[in-house]
Chain length 118, copies 2
C-alpha cells in the first residue's frame, strides 16, 4: 500500500524541460510516490520562454498559479493568467508562450506515459 506524503513544493528541485526555451519542471507526485492513477507536476516558464508545439496521447489538466501567457491548442490560441484552468485533450498539438513568468500545476495520467518521460 502506498503511504501518505506531505511535501513543501518550494524545496523540490526544478529540471529543465528538454526542447523548451526557459521551461522547468518539478514532479510533485508520480508513480515513484505510489500515486496510482495520475501525476502532479509544477511547471515554470520564464518570461519570454516557450514550450514549443508537441502532442501525445495523454491529456493535461492545468491550473495557473501565477503569471500570464498564451496557450495554443489545435487551431485555437488562448490568453491565460493566474486563476485560469486549461484542459488539453489527448493527441491535440499544443504550445505555451509565457508573457510574464508563468507557474502552473499540470496533472497527467500515469497510463500511456513512457517511464523515461518522468
Amino acid at each position: 500500500m502506498s503511504s501518505a506524503s506531505v511535501k513543501d513544493v518550494s524545496s523540490l528541485e526544478f529540471s529543465g524541460v528538454v526542447g523548451s526555451r526557459g521551461a522547468f519542471i518539478k514532479w510533485i507526485f508520480s508513480p515513484k510516490d505510489g500515486a496510482p492513477t495520475f501525476a502532479m507536476r509544477l511547471i515554470k516558464i520564464e518570461a519570454g520562454g516557450t514550450l514549443p508545439e508537441h502532442f501525445h496521447p495523454w491529456e493535461h489538466e492545468i491550473f495557473i498559479l501565477r503569471g500570464s501567457g498564451r496557450v495554443r491548442i489545435g487551431e485555437n490560441t488562448y490568453d491565460v493568467s493566474e486563476g485560469n484552468a486549461v484542459f488539453i485533450p489527448p493527441n491535440l498539438p499544443h504550445e505555451y508562450q509565457a508573457l510574464t513568468e508563468m507557474l502552473f500545476i499540470c496533472v497527467i495520467p500515469n497510463a500511456g506515459v513512457p517511464p523515461e518521460y518522468r
Copy 2:
C-alpha cells in the same frame, strides 16, 4: 473526441460539501468536460471549518493555494500551508481542519468514484 477548454475558475460556483462545517467545492474539470482519467476540483474551507473523517477507495493529490490547517491521514497529523502538496492514498481515513481560510486544488481519479458524487 473531447474539446480543449479554458476556464476562469473564479467565475465557477461553489457548492457546500455535505457533512462538512464550512467546506465548499468547485468542479473545474470532470468527465462532464470530457476529462478521461481524473477530475480537478477547488476546495475552500473557512477558518475554523472542518471536513470530518471519511475514507474512500480513491486517492487525493492536493496542492494548497492559500491558508493553513491540519490534515490527519490515518494515524498521522500534518500542519499544512500554502505551497504544500499532500498525497492521500486510497482507503486511508482522513480529515481536514482549517486554521485560516484554506483554498486547495484536489485531484481525484474518475474510475471508482460514483457519478452521484460529482
